[in-house]
Symmetry: C3
Subunit: 231 residues, 3 copies
């Protein structure tokens, strides 16, 4: 990434790179498991794993004007996704109940990509606000692609999943910690941990937001009218 | 947008900005109503509204090489989409029959975004032809995203909806009026009005194009052969 | 494309341009036929044909930072897609069994776009690896868009279709031949022929990859345990 444009002190890519690979692996595993669940063959599973693992980062790079995307520049990202797909292909029963495992891996991938995406954006010179939103886009892109490709409604907009809120919290924290001088490693680790922990809490407690009220206006209007009569 | 590249006289962003916010609100409302119809919870409705409202503009910016996209630079676009989602969430019954209302809001959003998208493209220095097509892409992007995310066949390619033709007409008019010196405010207003009016006319009259003929070649060939025999 | 960045000898666009138009026609025909099969009306068929025909090239240009995309700069690409849609609309029964024809046209389009996409990327200055991956993205983009829009699981990840592997082979060959000095026309023709021939062979022989083994770990573990007991 961008030595000359780097405006925020020295830049040690160690933790960023490690978390990036971990995020690719988590998303690739979620894509491969989804392929196993849909009884796809080996090549289709691999294709789905690669698209899910690399999709978010490619969306991030396109939005930052980094062309061609980093995943196309080096062989590392593709290799991580391919190796993960192979592991899932052979040992998927060890991943436990498929549906729940996809959700947990998705949560982990979202948290990692949101945090790294926000930091990459910040270090390429965007505003804090833009960095947080690009982080969220990075985190959500791969999962949307995976779910749309297998023709399911994305987790992102399923009721009771609350995917975007923890991602926003993680991205905001990452950006805030880095901006306040807390150091990028802490920014990455805390942002990822909070985004993942928040979402796991949502899944564990089964928290869900209310649906739209059926007729708020009518209820309020009736109450006002009744109230008026009584006076 | 972009003072130094602006090649067409002075540039007053008033009408453009107002119509842009109106377009975001129309699309966000269509996304939120779709979420209500699918019985999603509050956060999923908000997510869908934001993606539908901002999707077209993000596609436009990526195609114009404006990175990061304008929706990520300022807080205004996100705020408009969020406020619209809140209004729809609480007062959706006041929006009338959901399916028809989504269609009308979609038509309005397409018209607004097509016209503003074409003008933004033109003022960043593209050709007239490219500006019109980028306008259409801006107009159609958000609705495609909305429909694909909730796993429905996009309005865009449903029979009897004729979405792309009014958009092309509006984009062409906007570009032509601005290029012929009619002024950008007139270009925006006329382009939007024609795109919206045309599509509403299509919906109101139930106009639809024919399906593909079942065997044109066979019919013509038979007629030619019969004609040959008679001679 | 882009004279000054062209690092590999003289550049004669003849074969590249011809194959590009052929690729657009193949994908537009596959999109239009899909529209006929779904009983869409004339305008929806045209919309689907244009999106399928131009989608891959637009993805390629966005990834290469070519903005606005080439399909928006000249009228040729849109015209080729429109003319193809008209031919399919009137003469679709002459295209034979629809499902198989869509698959063959898709295979042809993937092969053409993969090869031309890789060469365009290479000549705009990317690495060999990036050029091959951008070629594959160009080849697969249009078909993904077509299948997602009509709400079907993309061919790309259907079992027994093995779409990505022939595309990778074709892209790799194109890049290798051009890099080794074989000339770009040979690179295009051989890359296209191998990608198309490979995929047709897969379809003709019905080759498919295995599904994931149901419990490899358990089987191996049991064998190891039994082996241990016998000793």
């Amino acid at each position: 990434m961008c030595g000359p444009r780097r405006p925020r002190g020295t830049y040690n890519p160690g933790v960023l790179t490690a978390l990036n690979y971990l995020g690719i692996a988590a998303f690739a595993a979620s894509g491969a498991l989804m392929g196993v669940r849909k009884r796809l063959d080996a090549f289709a599973i691999w294709t789905l794993a690669v698209l899910t693992g690399l999709g978010g980062g490619i969306a991030r790079d396109v939005m930052l004007g980094v062309t061609p995307p980093l995943s196309f520049k080096g062989w590392e990202n593709l290799t991580v996704a391919t190796a993960t797909a192979a592991v899932v292909f052979f040992f998927h029963p060890q991943f436990g109940a498929v549906r729940r495992t996809v959700d947990v891996l998705d949560a982990f991938g979202v948290a990692l990509f949101t945090s790294t995406g926000a930091l990459v954006a910040l270090h390429s010179g965007t505003s804090l606000f833009a960095a947080a939103l690009i982080g969220v886009t990075t985190g959500l892109g791969g999962g949307i692609l995976r779910d749309v490709l297998v023709n399911e409604v994305p987790l992102l907009i399923q009721s009771g999943e609350m995917v975007a809120i923890p991602a926003l919290a993680g991205a905001g924290l990452t950006v805030a910690i880095d901006d306040l001088g807390g150091g990028q490693d802490w920014a990455l680790v805390v942002g990822t941990a909070v985004a993942f922990g928040f979402r796991m809490l949502v899944m564990w407690r089964g928290w869900s937001a209310p649906q739209a009220p059926s007729d708020l206006w009518g209820t309020v209007a009736a109450r006002v009218r009744r109230g008026g009569r009584r006076r």
